[in-house]
Amino acid sequence: MSPEAHRRKAERIERSLAKCARKDYEAVIEAAMLAGSHWFNMALHVFGLTAEDDDVVHTYFLTGNQSQRYGILAGDMLAALDAIEQLRPLYVRGNAPGGEAAGRRAFELLARIRESARAAKPAV
């Protein structure tokens, strides 16, 4: 997808996210993962690190070499997106205590990803 298409998708998901209440923490975490993935892919394309037909689906699918390469320019986004992914087994698929706090954490991590992605400039 083009950087512009990723931005549109991320913003659509974030508008829907605004309809979630605190108790909807599974949806908040999943929306943060989805929107965060679109922001991350937008940034990788803008940096010139990935082609538009080469999108990252989940951080845990990345090879060690990809994580190292993307981490040079997008390390903060990669770490934040990975932190959101870590919340999913416990609070979305599972019922570990603290779901609402996890939802707030995912929301904060998404804001970090968005801010960094919007600042991305061609670099490679």
């Binding site: 997808m1 998901i13 309809k19 599974e26 949806a27 999108d55 689906v57 979305v92 570990a96």
Partner: protein, 156 residues
């Protein structure tokens, strides 16, 4: 997870789903449809005795998070037999399934087929797609209730 926990999640997710616009909020509406449906499948699989309902949470096929007995409040990954599935087909269930569960999985496959094209790519969201996902979701929840009734599951 226990059937009652899956049902509690389905109920909350379904309430949110009703507040979303299937077109304007398609991506999140779709995702909630998918994860609520997957919870329904897991509840039915447990009730039918096909999968284990113990309190462990899947991270990837065959790997589950369990409480770390040496570090209270923390979790550790462990290899374990089939409990909750991540998605229908992930992992594939080798055991024979009762017909109602086969139908539930078929309904979820209709939904899953739209996941990457519509959420991670740019397939145009049409009324046909929304209706197909909505019908499959309704079918999945109806079948779940039938499985629970048939199994006499009272843990809900």
């Amino acid at each position: 997870m226990k059937v009652s926990t899956h049902l509690e999640k389905v109920e909350r997710l379904d309430a949110l789903r009703r507040r979303l616009d299937p077109f304007g909020d398609f991506e999140l509406w779709f995702w909630i449809t998918m994860i609520a449906g997957t919870n329904a499948v897991n509840a039915a699989l447990h009730a039918a005795g096909v999968t284990d309902d113990s309190e462990r949470f899947p991270t990837q096929p065959g790997v589950y998070l369990v409480p770390d007995k040496e570090k209270p409040g923390e979790w550790r990954p462990t290899l374990a037999s089939l409990g909750d599935v991540l998605h229908v087909g992930r992992p594939r269930i080798e055991a024979p399934l009762p017909p109602m569960l086969v139908a539930m999985c078929a309904a979820m496959e209709v939904i899953e087929a739209n996941r990457d094209p519509c959420v991670r790519a740019e397939r145009r969201i049409t009324e046909e797609i929304v209706d197909a996902c909505d019908d499959a979701y309704s079918r999945c929840l109806t079948l779940m209730r039938e499985v629970l009734t048939e199994s006499g599951d009272t843990d809900r």
